[in-house]
Symmetry: C2
Subunit: 126 residues, 2 copies
DNA sequence: CGGGCTGTATCAACCTCATAATACAATAAT
DNA sequence: ATTATTGTATTATGAGGTTGATACAGCCCG
């Protein structure tokens, strides 16, 4: 099933984020083998070049490792993985606070607002 | 001073968001006159065409109104403004929950994490 | 009336991103 | 050894976004 990608934002960047999430959330376990560029490109319904670009980008962070012609694997450094996960969570929290502060909320108000929204599901528009 | 814009995302879209925030946060009061396309483009260090595109986009939401050749003003419909503000806040909350759930956190855990991050300032990397 | 402002429209040039179609070297499997 | 699969690279093409330079119509002010 093709991955859901928003437009108005580079696809390869979205692929990077998505793969990163799949790794830190354990969908691709530490030391596990990753699908090939072509295979994953087919799954995501994306051009192999684009997936290749995403992989190359993701490799700089050290989360995945290229093994010559044997494919790619997830790093076994669980410390690095946990760190990435924490960093992503922090980034989400910071983004939330920044967005709410831009709207005029204090951090405390933003936290309260989140509690209030915790129950309700996704946005019922209008 | 030129506005801070991230790349990897259309400038006009960022301008739309930023203007929207300035309106709902009261930086541009209801019924108040907006700077001209050219003027604001100069301030933001952006091409007038791009700012024009942002204005045109923003106008569909009803937040701003074009007065022939007399420039643009913010709507006086404060109800609409408050509604937009609430919707933006909800969107931030939903985005936060969605991001955290993608990482494997429950909504409750996500809320707790936010509380914990409330004190610490922006990300101290590493 | 004339000059300066407004929003709006158009055109060409450039860049990035994405796709498609290949191609190649290296390795694993048969 | 041959085949298939791996990552990687190249080229061309097209779409979308951004800029720059212009241009025009309408309106307000001096």
């Amino acid at each position: 099933m093709a991955w859901v990608l928003e437009d108005g934002r580079p696809i390869y960047a979205q692929l990077v984020e998505r793969l990163q999430v799949q790794i830190v959330s354990g969908a691709y376990p530490p030391g596990g083998k990753l699908p090939s560029v072509r295979e994953l490109a087919a799954v995501a319904a994306v051009n192999p070049n684009t997936m290749q670009k995403a992989f190359a980008e993701l490799e700089k962070s050290g989360l995945i490792i290229t093994q010559g012609t044997n494919g790619r694997v997830v790093t076994e450094d669980e410390r690095l993985i946990r760190g990435s996960k924490r960093r992503l969570a922090r980034r989400h929290a910071d983004a939330y606070f920044a967005g709410m502060e831009g709207l005029g909320y204090t951090r405390a108000q933003a936290a309260d607002f989140l509690r209030a929204a915790e129950g309700k599901g996704e946005a019922e528009d209008e």
